[in-house]
Amino acid sequence: MNDLITSKTLPLWAAARSIYGCGVECLSAKNSQSLVPRILPSGEFSFGTSLIFSPKSFVKVIEGGFALPKIRYFLTAPTGTFRSVINLARVGKVYRSPSQIKEIHGMLNGSLEAICCYLNHHLVAKKAFHDESSRTLTFEIKGMQRKWLIKMDGSNGWQVGACSSLDRASACLAFNDIEVAKNAALGALDSWLSLTNAEIILSGRIPLLDKFGYVSRIAQNEVPRPGR
């Protein structure tokens, strides 16, 4: 599949992974499985087993806030497709207005998934992280157990996963509270200001976070999201 991820398809691939990443946190295991994304050799994007979008319609779906346009997809409607559609709509709702903690976690996980796609496939990002494969990054929300770890996982490339609160990574980004994490995930945080008013606290190997920040800004610029 790697061959199918090009500079042209990367933004949508990252969006698809982000949707899945969000679903993993917000939905049951079975439901999130219905959102496992793939790029097909035809250049189309699929979720689960049979929900398929052309790149153009996928962008429309995302930008329209996941309000699926009159759906042809499940006219031929196997139940798998139906489940994917429902779950996509559920994630879409989270994207538009995350409120519960697990939804904010979902948004965060989704964002990190998207950034990992860039770390693995974007030329500049890959180059920047070339020397960093032995290093790890954690993301946490102060006062919460849940922590995210980004690390290089062999041929799978950079992956985001859970980690224990005892794990100490090469660098750590901590959100001061859940609201800050939410705004960050929505792309509504001024990262420079946040650093000086303690909304975001960086520690550890700062150059690694600098690079990560750079890649995340590229991703934020390119990956379509609802309302853009």
Binding site: S170, W192, L195, T196, A198, G204, I206, L209, Y214
Partner: protein
């Protein structure tokens, strides 16, 4: 430390300046919650931030100040020049005086040129080497900083793939690697550009190993590559006549800035005669580069350095301070090692690869008014007296105690 105005100012800055403060002084590069964002005044080895907090300084404007803030003799020289003017249609005659001074002071220098920043002239110097040799490649040490230009800056934005097409890197002190690069690019390397010792940020400084410089000099000669010394940061902190003397070698071209003007913007490149024609052929100018205030500051600064043996003085003060600070660390079971040369030491804690401990230590020091940077080498100001250093050690001990307790 109180920090209200600093934060408010940063909010304003962030509205009108991308990232609020950029480069190595950006909040993210240091300790944004513990350091001030903006300063208001300074005198000697102390400065005051916009909230009125007084700090004991161990960064010297990231090296731009050697004799202390607002050094009287330098301020007087600049004041005298202020009555005459700074920039004219032709250079002020002080430019010639300063060039003569540098040529007299620096043993291998036959000529000098001036600009405003270190980067202006590190980039210009490699172009002079290219002009002289007709070759394209430049060799530098991995992780070394030589300025803001695309061939060497540490950032990520605004690059195109050709920016570094002709820049090769080797690990500091690895002569074998350097030789391989020269052999593999035979007759293609214009220059090897190096700092006197390796003082990269975010890691311990590395001194040249025994024989390193003599071998680099020899390899450059063998391969007809110019040896360019980037003395921007070390200049006048290791030796009053150029840092090559401290390590016993002779470059072809050398660049100075930072301490040269003691806070007034000026940089200089000096070179051997054989590079004079090439220097003449690489275009060089800038809007305010012929700035007589900066020339007068540099002349005064050089004189103070010479008369007061300032490099020796900051080395000795640094040695005193570093050894005592390491002892304080030991008392608390912290394996603190002040690496590099003592006049600009980099604090490194054994086993602290990811910098959490040094960040913690500097945070507690900041709370006590000591500006210890966790990620960059420090600079010992010659305005620090031994009493100041003892005071700093006393405060550092308190800070370390709190850090260890936490």
């Amino acid at each position: 430390m109180k920090r209200i105005k600093s934060d408010l100012l940063f909010q304003n800055a962030n509205r009108v300046i991308p990232t609020g403060i950029y480069g190595h002084m950006a909040p993210g590069a240091g300790l944004p919650l513990d350091f001030p964002h903006f300063c208001s005044s300074g005198k000697g080895a102390r400065f005051t931030d916009v909230d009125g907090n007084e700090w004991m300084d161990f960064m010297c404007g990231f090296g731009a100040v050697l004799h202390g803030y607002r050094h009287e003799a330098i301020e007087q020289a600049v004041q005298k020049q202020r009555e005459l003017g700074s920039v004219f249609n032709q250079p002020h005659f002080l430019m010639v005086e300063l060039a003569e001074k540098l040529v007299e002071l620096i043993d291998f220098a036959d000529w000098a040129v001036f600009a405003k920043n270190g980067s202006d002239l590190t980039t210009w110097a490699i172009r002079v080497a290219r002009e002289k040799t007709g070759r394209e490649y430049i060799i530098k040490a991995k992780g070394a900083y030589h300025g803001v230009d695309a061939w060497c800056d540490p950032g990520m934005g605004g690059r195109i793939s050709s920016d570094r097409e002709f820049v090769l890197e080797f690990e500091w002190n690895n002569l074998q690697q350097l030789e391989s690069l020269l052999v593999n690019h035979s007759n293609q390397v214009a220059a090897v550009i190096l700092t006197p010792y390796h003082h990269a940020s975010f890691g311990p400084s590395e001194l040249p190993s025994v024989g390193f410089w003599k071998n680099v000099e020899m390899l450059c000669k063998q391969h007809d590559a110019a040896l360019v010394l980037d003395d921007v940061r070390c200049g006048w902190r290791l030796d009053d006549s150029g840092s090559h003397n401290y390590f016993g070698f002779c470059p072809d071209l050398a660049i100075y800035s930072k301490a040269l003007g003691n806070g007034y913007a000026i940089s200089a490149c000096v070179g051997k005669d054989k590079f004079r024609t090439s220097a003449a052929d690489v275009f060089l100018t800038g809007s305010c580069w012929n700035d007589a205030y900066a020339f007068s500051a540099a002349l005064a600064s050089l004189q103070i350095s010479r008369e007061n043996l300032v490099a020796k003085s900051v080395l000795e003060k640094g040695k005193y301070f570093c050894s005592k600070l390491e002892e304080v660390g030991q008392e608390y079971g912290i394996k603190l090692k002040m690496t590099g040369v003592p006049s600009m030491p980099y604090p490194w804690i054994e086993g602290d690869e990811d910098l959490y401990q040094i960040q913690g230590l500097c945070k507690f020091a900041a709370a006590e008014g000591l500006y210890f940077h966790p990620h960059h080498n420090w600079f010992i100001s010659n305005a620090l007296s031994y009493e100041d250093l003892d005071q700093a050690l006393f405060i550092a001990k308190k800070a370390l105690g709190k850090f260890v307790e936490q």
